[in-house]
């Protein structure tokens, strides 16, 4: 364990902490930032030690949940995905993600091979053409932009944090604010994050982003606040075609165990050595 924290401080707390930021706090924060150098006194150092001590502990305090009993995994069947983007919408709402086209905990990519072409045309819901089609950055739609061309092959690929076994983001974090839990999830403690964005750089999947409301990094948590209560991640819950599969790999009867048993799967960028834990079916070589 590289670090541990109360889950309430990290994930479900991220919504609350964002919502609770009053104007006064924000103003104070910007003053602090401005006089950042001055704030580096002994008092701050002592406070930092204090906050570390406050979050230290062996396990997250979640009633009825033991993280040693689980090992979560995620499967994506790209042959099923219809690009409806309900997952993206559900994630944005469930996790209070910024409502713009530049911050996503999960997104969907569309790969379109036109007749006579070797390389696919790739876009996601964040593409300006698709935003123009939906009419807002808060609504998600794939524009029918290839209707006048002959499409040879096309498919959708949902993307999210891969919760890697050897996460490069965790390796580079200078304070251990981002850490790997015993049940296989990569989380961020926003009360520890210093906002250097080294982890954003280190992630080869583009899964991390800087949350300007928290002045810290944010990303997918597989809805840790839900899965520890026996619920599914929001994106899996709302998927109408079961393209997204989630479950406990320690349970042989779980959807993810069956998914991995029944399919030959791939992971993204295996050469990175990160050992990702999102397993894909139905993607081709252009997907990375």
């Amino acid at each position: 364990m590289t670090g541990s924290a109360k889950v309430s401080d990290t994930d479900s707390g991220s919504q609350d902490s964002v919502q609770e930021l009053s104007q006064e706090q924000l103003q104070r924060r910007s003053v602090l930032r401005f006089f950042g150098a001055a704030a580096l006194g002994c008092g701050t150092a002592a406070a930092a030690v204090g906050s570390q001590a406050a979050t230290a502990g062996d396990k997250p305090e979640i009633p009825g949940y033991d993280w040693n009993q689980h090992h979560w995994g995620y499967g994506i069947d790209a042959t099923r995905c219809i690009g409806c983007l309900r997952c993206v919408e559900a994630c944005k709402i469930e996790n209070n993600v910024q409502q713009d086209a530049h911050h996503f905990r999960t997104w969907v990519e569309r790969y379109v091979y036109l007749e006579g072409e070797d390389r696919p045309h790739i876009d996601s819901q964040a593409d300006p053409v698709n935003i123009a089609a939906s009419g807002s950055e808060k609504e998600y739609r794939f524009a029918n932009r290839y209707k006048d061309t002959k499409v040879d092959k096309a498919f959708f690929v949902p993307k999210l944090c891969n919760h890697c076994t050897h996460p490069a983001c965790v390796q580079v974090c200078p304070v251990g604010a981002t850490y790997k839990t015993e049940d296989g999830v990569v989380l961020i403690d926003h009360k520890m994050c210093i906002g250097c964005q080294y982890c954003v750089q280190a992630c080869p999947y583009g899964a991390r982003f800087f949350d300007d409301r928290l002045q810290a990094t944010n990303k997918c948590t597989w809805c840790y606040h839900r899965i520890t209560k026996g619920l599914l991640p929001a994106c899996v819950e709302v998927c109408p075609v079961s393209a997204r599969v989630f479950g406990d790999r320690k349970d042989k009867e779980s959807p993810i165990s069956k998914f991995l048993h029944d399919n030959r799967t791939l992971v993204l960028r295996p050469e990175s050595g990160n050992a990702p834990n999102c397993y894909y079916v139905g993607i081709d070589k252009e997907v990375s």
Binding site: T2, L21, L26, S30, L32, R33, F34, G36, A37, A39, L40, T44, A45, A48, V49, Q52, A101, H102, H103, F104, W107, E109, I122, D123, S124, Q125, K159, A168, V170, Q171, V172, C173, P174, V175, G176, M192, C193, I194, G195, C196, Q197, Y198, V200, Q201, A202, C203, P204, Y205, G206, A207, R208, F209, F210, D212, R213, L214, Q215, A216, S272, G273
Partner: protein, 392 residues
């Protein structure tokens, strides 16, 4: 709420989260100033450690310049951090696997070393001032003596040993500090533009040339302001040092670039597109052409012709200014360039720096001026000139 400043326009396919460039111009300035620290220290070591007498006129100036730059090093990082009030945490609760966590320790160690070495170097002057001056300044210097007024030959010999030891330790210290900055970039496997074993070495050599060039400029300007003649032997030595280190720096960068192109791993088409397009002006013209090839040719020509006097003076100052610009462009092309090539390997982004604001071009310019302001004050308190040296 502070609104997000910039969304980077792009072509091709980039991950949606990539449209906010994580590391801004602040992270360009940070390795640049760190490089000046290491480079200036190298020059002072040539005299302090290796006894190269021709560098005596700039030896103390180099040390105090290095210190003034070092004091500014943390500022771009603090301005960049989302939570600068937690900036000490990497040292208090370090995460040992992070390359970043070591920075605080190396930087602090080096800062203490620089302060100590400067104190030993200026100790005779401090004691002289403490004895001569009255009032507030007198008290200031008396505090700085730390209670020791001993200038006996035995004490001076003791000081010389300390200066030598600190200078020797400082060479790996300064270079470790900067080599580590290169490691921060080179060790990231997520970006092909950065991921290179040569990155720390390239950073080091470019640091040394920027430090030498800075010293040339600072020394020449200081002589002008003080209306004293420039030591041409010293200048000539610096032009040789600049030429030698430049040769290595340019060669290493060429080897690194060539091997990346030759390896031609996944995503190389986009890198080629980037090198041929957006990099034309900042890389080919400014960094390589104007900033490296021209000064190198000029320095070679001067060495070949045995140029002396005003021509050497002018040629070296022009070369140094161009080298300072080239190294700044190199930092820009590495830091910003790496982020403009999308991680997808299928798209290119464009970074637009803000004009005003916390991480803006104005702040960057201010940070580049700040070491000179500090130096301006520091040389008044502790004159690093040969003619003001105190000989007990």
């Amino acid at each position: 709420m502070e609104t997000l400043s910039q969304f980077a326009p792009y072509i091709g396919y980039v991950y949606p989260n990539e449209t906010v460039i994580p590391w801004t111009v602040m992270i360009v300035i940070y390795p640049y100033i760190t490089g000046l620290v290491a480079g200036a220290f190298t020059m002072s070591s040539l005299y302090q450690v290796f006894g190269m007498k021709r560098f005596k006129p700039v030896a103390h100036l180099a040390m105090i310049t290095s210190l003034c730059c070092m004091l500014v090093v943390p500022l771009p990082l603090l301005l960049h951090l989302g939570h600068p009030e937690r900036a000490a945490n990497p040292m208090i609760t370090p995460h040992t696997t992070s390359a970043f966590a070591v920075f605080g320790y190396i930087a602090s160690f080096y800062l203490v070393l620089l302060l100590l070495e400067n104190w030993f170097v200026f100790r005779p002057y401090i004691i002289q001032q403490a004895q001569q001056r009255k009032g507030l300044m007198g008290r200031f210097f008396r505090i700085l003596t730390l209670g020791s007024y001993d200038l006996s030959p035995k004490a001076m010999e003791h000081d010389r040993k300390w200066i030598f030891a600190l200078a020797v330790t400082g060479i790996p210290g300064a270079h470790g500090l900067h080599g580590y900055v290169g490691f921060v970039f080179g060790s990231l496997k997520s970006r092909e533009w950065w991921s290179s074993d040569l990155m720390p070495v390239i950073f080091l050599f470019s640091a040394i040339i920027s430090g030498i060039a800075l010293l040339v400029v600072v020394y020449v300007i200081s002589c002008r302001l003080r209306k004293v003649p420039v030591d041409l032997e010293c200048l000539k030595g610096m032009s040789f040092a600049l030429w030698g280190f430049m040769m290595f720096a340019l060669l290493l960068e060429g080897v690194e670039f060539a091997s990346m192109m030759y390896r031609a791993r996944e995503g190389i088409e986009v890198i080629r597109q980037y090198v041929d397009g957006p990099l034309t002006v900042p890389f080919w013209i400014m960094q390589i052409g104007i900033g490296s090839v021209i000064p190198l040719c000029l320095l070679t020509f001067m060495a070949w012709r045995g140029t002396r006097g005003t021509a050497l003076y002018n040629g070296l100052v022009v070369s140094s200014l161009l080298v300072l610009m080239a190294v700044l462009m190199m930092r820009w092309n590495v830091v910003i360039g790496g982020q403009e090539i999308a991680k997808t390997g299928k798209g290119l982004l464009t970074y637009h720096a803000e004009i005003f604001g916390r991480e803006s071009m104005t702040t960057a310019a201010a940070l580049l001026v700040l070491p000179f302001l500090l130096l301006w004050g520091a040389v008044r308190l502790f004159p690093p000139w040969v003619e003001t040296e105190v000989h007990p």
